[in-house]
Amino acid sequence: MKNLLKVAIGFAALAVTLPQAAFAAPGDTLKAVQARGALNCTSSDGNFEGFAELDSKGNWHGLDIDYCRAVATAIFGSDSKLKLIPVSWAQRFPSLQSGELDLVVKASGWLMSRDTELGFQFSTPYFVGVTQFMAHKELGAKSVTDLAGGSVCLSGGTSVEKLVSDYVAQNKYDLKLVTFEKNAEAVAAYFANRCDAYTEWGPIVAATRASSADPDNHVILSDNLSLEPEGIVVRQGDDSWVDVINWVIASQRIAEENGITSKNVDEMKSSPPNATVGKLLGVTPGIGTRLGLKDDWAYNVIKAHGNAEEMYDRSFGEGSRYKLPRGMNAPWQKGGIFYPPVLD
């Protein structure tokens, strides 16, 4: 019996020490990806509308998928070498840590615990999600103030409930909160006209509206509650890999600022209107070598996937089923909160 115990303790010790040894070594993700000839990025174990969703032919679409494609295009010149690995929410971080994935683009909020204890590094945010309200159009409401005396359906016991009740109390709105145990019940109650409005995380509100029988009869109100920045997640300790990802995100924002789109990018490349555009599109060399990529990487990304506005539009904006106003996701010049670093 004692011997058995010893064996058990031995196995436990082995199990604790082994994982450290098997972590992918940081610092060389880009080299490993180039040597492998494939980028391993996240897709999903189901649809997360707007971020990662499947069409009838089994192809992936969505904002998260497009960022995977953009990073693959920056490295290889096209996204044909992108491997989209379906992982569940619970599985994404262990899979990143084990080296199965090179990056996680899966609507992952930039949280301190993930950034520190869990040993991950976040890119600059590529999307911000806010809690938003949707109301029946016939009420003519533009913001929550206009709902005075009305009611809101929402799922109870969640962070959304606390957030909304604080918001209502702080602003002294005359609004009744009707909570349900499940989100599906709150949605059903809203569509059955039991409430004037429904509230959830913005992209979910937009997806709920798009899947209803009459999307045009519901409006998303202008109030924005509790912003959560979504970043691309990589293993901590590989600064140059984070640089690659950050500059892929930045390149599309710089393109938007300078009016470069997937349609006019060739024109812009043949006669750059300013020095920044020349550098971005690789006319003036330098943008590639600094990152360990080719000088035309940003050109390839913009040519294939467009600028930041086109990315948003395709997955959430007018080009999608969701028609979610860009709001805070716009650059600062257009009333949003985003800005690119300076390309010099």
Binding site: L14, A15, L18, P19, A22, F23, S44, D45, G46, N47, E49, E53, L54, D55, S56, K57, G58, N59, K83, L84, I85, P86, V87, S88, A90, Q91, P94, S95, S98, G99, E100, A207, A210, S211, A213, D214, R321
Partner: protein
């Protein structure tokens, strides 16, 4: 005295009296006014439910069209199945290559069906069936030869993946279960105690945690060349889980044999392997058949658990079919379709089980 005997004979004679249909209905369902009332109430409820179902599924239903058409209709929206059936049946498998997945799925089914036929139950025939069936499946799915493009395991999905995981679990798990059952009955105390520890240890863990460990934790603790694709690790996890339960089922079958069977075969001079393979196991399997079929059916249902590891087996691809593209409200139709597929499989398994029970009982006579 004689009269008593005649009476007794009459009592034991089988009743040859057959009732007409109308007579049966009248006697069993309308013998008293209360019973008649209850019959009428129940019958009208049944008729109402069936009528509502038929109306929903066939009369008011939409067979093709857009989500908007479906929102406008009162009945079932089969259009979602029509629009997304390729996704349900094949998951993420590349659209233009899905014929390969279809044939591969048939290959696994053929392997399973052939394995069920007693003619193939020999140490020579069964391995041939398995190797051929699996080679066809693997090379069709994975490609890379005969000009077929390579399709990675992460893109496998739908019915082909479900049947593959199920068949592999049982085909790997069943021999493993026999070995475990025999080891547990070993006369060497160390071996039987260690096997018992292994079996009870695995049985005390939930399948979900075993699958998660196999998929995610094992790569940390294994040398790279042994890791392989996540799919095969998950199948191994599921097979081990199946094996420990099945080992206990087989052991119960062995222990329900009279001790005289083993003693007699040893007395006849048969060695251990002959005793086990000719005397013990065939009889043990006959005793253990109902719980074995049970385990196999459970193994089929449990293939849906691999969804948490990001595999698009048929339940997960069913989920993916309705949760985007505007079809979100029509999950009942998709789940009905998936449930029908599950039903076909599990029902055939149970039918096969009862056929086997009947034929083995005949053999025993």
């Amino acid at each position: 005295m004689k009269a008593d005997l005649v009476m007794a004979n009459d009592m034991f004679a089988s009743p040859v009296h057959t009732r007409s249909f109308i007579e049966t209905v009248r006697k069993d369902y309308f013998s008293t006014p209360v019973q008649a009332l209850l019959t009428l109430i129940c019958a009208s409820v049944i008729v109402y439910v069936i009528w509502a179902l038929v109306r929903w599924a066939f009369i008011d239903s939409i067979w093709s069209g857009t989500p908007e058409d479906c929102h406008a209709a009162a009945g079932a929206c089969w259009a979602v199945v029509k629009d997304r059936y390729r996704l349900i049946m094949f998951g993420l498998y590349p659209y233009d290559e899905q014929w390969r997945s279809a044939i591969a799925c048939l290959a696994v089914l053929a392997t399973v069906i052939l394995s069920c036929i007693p003619y193939f139950w020999s140490a020579k025939r069964l391995p041939v069936v398995w190797v051929v069936g699996y080679a066809v499946f693997y090379y069709l799915m994975k490609g890379g030869i005969f000009g077929l493009s390579v399709v990675l395991e992460t893109q496998w999905g739908g019915l082909a993946l479900t049947t593959f995981v199920f068949a592999s679990t049982v085909i790997i798990g069943m021999p493993l279960a026999i070995v475990l059952a025999l080891l547990r009955r070993s006369k060497l105390p160390v071996i039987s105690a260690l096997t018992a520890l292994f079996i009870d240890g695995i049985r005390s863990l939930p399948l979900l945690s075993i699958l998660f460990t196999a998929a995610i934790v094992l790569p940390y603790a294994m040398p790279d060349f042994l890791v392989g694709d996540k799919l095969y690790r998950v199948i191994m996890g599921a097979a081990v889980f199946f094996a420990v339960y099945q080992a206990e089922v087989i052991r119960s079958g062995i222990q329900s044999l009279p001790a005289g069977q083993e003693e007699a075969s040893i007395a006849l001079g048969l060695n251990y392997w002959q005793t086990v393979s000719r005397i013990i196991l065939p009889q043990a399997f006959r005793f253990a058949l109902p719980p074995t079929i049970n385990q196999v059916v459970i193994a089929f249902m449990e293939t849906s658990l691999i969804v948490i590891l990001g595999f698009f087996e048929i339940t997960a691809s069913g989920n993916a079919a309705f949760s985007a593209g505007g079809w979100n409200s029509f999950y009942v139709e998709v789940y009905t379709f998936v449930a029908l597929i599950y039903f076909v499989f599990t029902y055939s398994l149970s039918m096969y089980g009862s056929y086997l029970e009947r034929s083995l009982r005949l053999m025993a006579r």
